[in-house]
């Protein structure tokens, strides 16, 4: 009987072998499918079992996102945003099944799953402590963020404000309106969150959209600094006092339509200095410059400022473009920031920043430092140079002209007592809509810039008479002043 008993024994071992192979198959091959199945509530609970790292600003002095221990077995740690709507587009939110903003981009560090945190995670696992994430400190300047948010909100307009340190690329202010309350999307209740989210997604004013980075608009006359940069770089015998033709209407080739100045006004005596053209924001000289420089030069100069592809950043960014190559008339229009020229406010802030930083374009960033749960810094802001957009000399000449814009030109609304401000206004036609977009880019103090800014007011939210100088410049002034005072 022993031979058959041995075979029965082999059969038993085969059965156990099959069970073992199968549990390995479940654990190794199928586990991924199971953990992403939305009927598996575990992934949902798991999100709330981590003592998620906090998000702060101003070296930890201001709390932007915190984790509250509710002691509940399933939803132990809940996320709260003490400042609610003010930082919504930067922080994003940590929802039951999704995340956005810094909460998404830095998720692995915040929830402790990043390889850099593996040792601490292992210790937590063995000692059965809840996993703890790293905390993230942002470069934002809370006082200035508050001014920007309050002023833009009080005006009732839709738009975006972004300010950054031109020397380091550190973002100081990022506000987009209308906004939403991330607290509504962070409650551990999938039904409630879905309802709140759908309501926001269906809203025609698009409160979920980060207008600073995620959408492009025609930049209007603020783009003239790029055209001027190309004009100066193309021939180093030129300077701000070089005269350029400035007709009342610029004839465009192959079309009956001409390119007029803003409001059909004249620009000086028909031949003006470059400085004057920029101060008054005349269209015709820049249209002519663009046509003379040609497609290749305009594209190359724009690319040096980072235009043409999405900016590498901590938040999603939309791709920017000066438009596809077409008839020469289009060249005149894109040179004054119209036609198919599409920029994000962050990109235009980058343009101002490069000029402020003697032509050197820095990589923008929101992350000041990241600290592991033990308190040691694992990542710190290291300023990173992107390109050399301009020669220092040309940057200097542009700076002088932009100072003139504020002192003598369209940007007087951005003057700050005791501080030299440089800037450029823009009023851009938004398709066929009667109301224009209002823009302002600039930096201060001009001698030693500490902040570069872009203010954008969306068409239709500030009336048909909105202008960069009247609508955007005063807000830029207040925000720049707040940044400088916070230093």
């Amino acid at each position: 009987m022993n031979s058959t008993l041995k075979r029965a024994a082999v059969a038993c071992m085969v059965m156990f072998g099959l069970l073992m192979i199968n549990v390995n198959y479940l654990g190794a091959v199928k586990a991924g499918d199971y953990s992403t199945d939305n009927r598996n509530t575990r992934s949902f609970y798991k999100r709330y079992s981590v003592d998620r790292g906090w998000i702060t600003a101003d070296n930890g002095k201001t709390t932007l996102a915190k984790t509250v221990d509710t002691k509940d077995a399933k939803f132990r740690y809940e996320r709260e945003y003490p400042n609610g709507r003010m930082y919504a587009h930067v922080l994003g939110f940590f929802a039951p099944e999704s995340a956005r903003g810094i909460e998404l981009n830095e998720n692995k560090l915040l929830d402790g799953s990043d390889p850099d945190l593996v040792v601490g995670r292992l210790i937590d696992f063995v000692s059965k402590k809840p996993p703890k994430g790293a905390s993230v400190d942002l470069t934002l300047v809370p006082a200035a963020q508050k001014i920007a948010y309050d002023k833009l909100r009080a005006s009732g307009k839709r738009g975006a404000v972004v300010a950054l340190n031109p020397k380091t690329g550190a973002i100081q202010v990022m506000v987009s309106l209308p906004t939403y309350d991330p607290n509504d999307l962070a409650v551990p209740d999938r039904g409630k969150v879905a309802a709140a989210y759908n309501k926001l997604a269906d809203d025609d004013t698009d409160p979920l959209l980060n207008r600073v980075t995620e959408k492009t608009y025609p930049p209007g006359s603020t783009f003239k600094v790029v055209t001027a940069a190309a004009f100066l770089e193309a021939d180093r015998s030129r300077d701000p006092e070089t005269t350029v033709p400035a007709p009342q209407v610029l004839d465009l080739p192959d079309t009956t339509a001409g390119l007029p100045n803003y409001g059909g006004a004249a620009c000086g005596s028909g031949e003006v200095t470059l400085r004057f053209a920029l101060e008054r924001s005349c269209n015709t000289p820049f249209g002519q410059m663009g046509m003379d420089l040609g497609w290749d030069t305009m594209r190359e100069e724009s690319a040096k400022f980072g235009i043409g592809e999405p900016i590498q950043f901590d938040l999603p960014t939309a791709g920017t473009t000066i438009g596809p190559e077409e008839e020469t008339a289009a060249l005149a229009q894109l040179s004054i920031g119209q036609r198919n020229n599409q920029q994000t406010p962050l990109q235009m802030a980058q343009v101002a920043s490069a000029i402020a930083n003697s032509g050197v374009l820095m990589k923008p960033t929101l992350i000041n430092k990241i600290t592991d749960p033990g308190g040691s810094v694992i990542e710190e802001l290291k300023p990173e140079q992107l390109t050399e957009a301009l020669s220092g000399e040309v940057a200097d000449e542009l700076k002088q002209m932009m100072v003139s814009v504020i002192t003598n030109g369209t940007g007087t609304g951005a003057q700050i007592p005791g501080v030299t401000v440089a800037g450029k206004t823009g009023t851009a036609e938004a398709g066929d809509a009667p109301a224009p977009h209002a823009w302002f880019i600039g930096f201060a103090p001009a001698e030693n810039p500490e902040t570069a800014i872009c203010v954008f007011i969306e068409a239709g939210s500030a009336g048909n008479d909105a202008t960069g100088g009247g609508t955007a410049a005063p807000l830029a002034r207040d925000v720049m002043q707040a940044v400088l005072e916070a230093k």
């Binding site: 009987m1 022993n2 075979r7 156990f16």
Partner: protein
């Protein structure tokens, strides 16, 4: 010559209890960061119980296999810990206190079996009595007044406040019956009939017992809707028949009969077909959302296995209350989630070792009845683990059975402790050195007148 290895057995027993106490403390740490206040007293209680069992074993079965008791202690103890852990989530039906009480009773039954049953061969004389008892226990739930239907299966009887699953005891009686019967008839059953291809078919008239068992299993399936027990009894009988007669043809006939029965049952009964559909496509929403015979429980169990990963979430850190009946049929899913692949592999290995020790006993046994009984009991244990763990992990269609020594439930625990007592008794007989004939002639003194 085999040694008693009592020291090793004691050390392993102590080790098993330390592992269980550690796991118990770990549950508390996982849930609220504190070691449960009862760790020491429960640990001492379990230790006292198991060392008492050891004492009985040392006195009444001193040559017994040294591994069986420590291994079973470990599985039973971990079962207690997991049930305690599930109880902490507030899922109804899980009670560690009840399970501990049943464990104590199980140890009493274990000891009583060893003390009363001095020689297991006495059971051979009870072959047909056991057959009747087994059959009687199997049909008991169908009787009016005592029978109870719970969760759609009529496999319970009510005795006062308790419900008992007589099938658990019935399987023991039936294995004893099969062993006795097959030892008596194996020569006849092994006679070759016609030869078909490469296989010697048995004689047609000898098919009787197989068909009777097959009919019995189908009856259990049809009348009690108990797929698991049906499969358990039939499979064990076929394997024991094969071991006894050494004829492969019996296995093939068994498999054919099983397939025929399964197809027949699938045609007649919706619930059999439902199990099959659910096994093939548990993830389909139409099955997942189906109220009766749906895949909700299976999928929740699979989610638990999936989320465990290699090391598991740690005891107290998973979500066993997501799985319906996690303390009973699906206890392995809780192990998979909280102890991970590592815990599952270790636990399966412990089961495999228990089975392997039982089969070794069968190989070492000196008479055919002992061989067949030890082999049958070991196989039924392995087969039961395979059916339920395979079902829960979707290796095979899910049929409800308890996970031996782990699932909450008194009847199964008592019956399985008796099963282990029988294996211990037989291993004692098998390992006991035979009386030695005096070999040394030199010591023999020869007197001459």
């Amino acid at each position: 010559m085999t040694a008693k290895r009592r020291g090793a057995q004691l050390v392993m027993l102590a080790f098993a209890i330390v592992v269980v106490m550690g796991a118990y403390a770990s549950v508390g740490l996982g849930i609220d960061g504190q070691i449960p206040s009862g760790t020491f007293t429960y640990g001492l209680g379990l230790a006292a119980l198991m060392f008492a069992a050891y004492g009985v074993l040392a006195k009444w079965a001193p040559w017994a296999d040294p591994l069986l008791l420590p291994l079973v202690t470990l599985v039973n103890g971990l079962g207690l810990v997991i049930i305690y852990r599930i109880e902490q989530t507030g899922q109804g039906g899980a009670s560690a206190t009840n399970q501990l009480m049943w464990t104590a009773l199980g140890v009493v039954m274990f000891s009583a079996t060893l003390i009363v049953l001095k020689d297991h061969r006495a059971l051979q004389r009870l072959t047909y009595t056991m057959g009747f008892i087994g059959l009687g226990l199997l049909v008991m739930p169908l009787l009016p007044f005592v029978g109870r239907e719970i969760n759609g299966a009529r496999i319970w009887i009510g005795v006062g406040p308790f419900t008992i699953q007589p099938a658990e005891f019935s399987k023991l009686a039936l294995v004893i019956f099969f062993a006795g019967y097959l030892v008596a008839k194996r020569d006849v059953l092994a006679l070759a009939g016609r030869r078909l291809l490469f296989i010697d078919l048995p004689r047609a008239r000898d098919l009787g017992p197989v068909l009777v068992t097959w009919g019995l299993s189908l009856g259990v399936l049809i009348l009690q809707k108990d797929l698991g027990s049906s499969l358990l009894v039939f499979g064990t009988f076929i394997v024991m028949l094969y071991v006894a007669t050494q004829r492969t043809s019996w296995v093939l006939i068994g498999i054919l009969l099983f397939i025929g029965g399964a197809v027949l049952a699938g045609q007649i009964f919706d619930h059999v077909q439902a199990r099959f559909e659910v096994w093939l496509h548990p993830e389909l929403p139409e099955f997942y959302d189906r109220e009766l015979g749906g895949s909700y429980q299976l999928m929740q169990g699979l989610f638990a296995f999936g989320s465990g990963g290699i090391l598991g979430t740690g005891l107290g850190k998973g979500f066993p209350d997501q799985i319906p009946l996690s303390f009973s049929d699906f206890i392995m899913a809780v192990v998979g989630e909280e102890l991970g692949l590592t815990g599952l592999m270790a636990l399966l290995m412990v089961y495999a070792l228990i089975v392997q020790r039982g089969l070794r006993t069968a190989l070492a046994a000196r008479d055919p009845f002992s061989k067949l009984l030890a082999g049958g009991l070991s196989f039924i244990l392995a087969w039961q683990v395979f059916i339920i763990v395979g079902g829960v992990t979707r290796l095979i269609p899910l049929t409800g059975l308890v996970t031996p020594f782990m699932s909450a439930g008194g009847s199964a625990l008592l019956a399985n402790w008796i099963l282990i007592a029988l294996l211990v008794r037989m291993s004692d007989a098998a390992r006991r050195p035979p009386p030695q004939a005096i070999q040394n002639e030199g010591l023999t003194q020869v007197f001459t007148r």
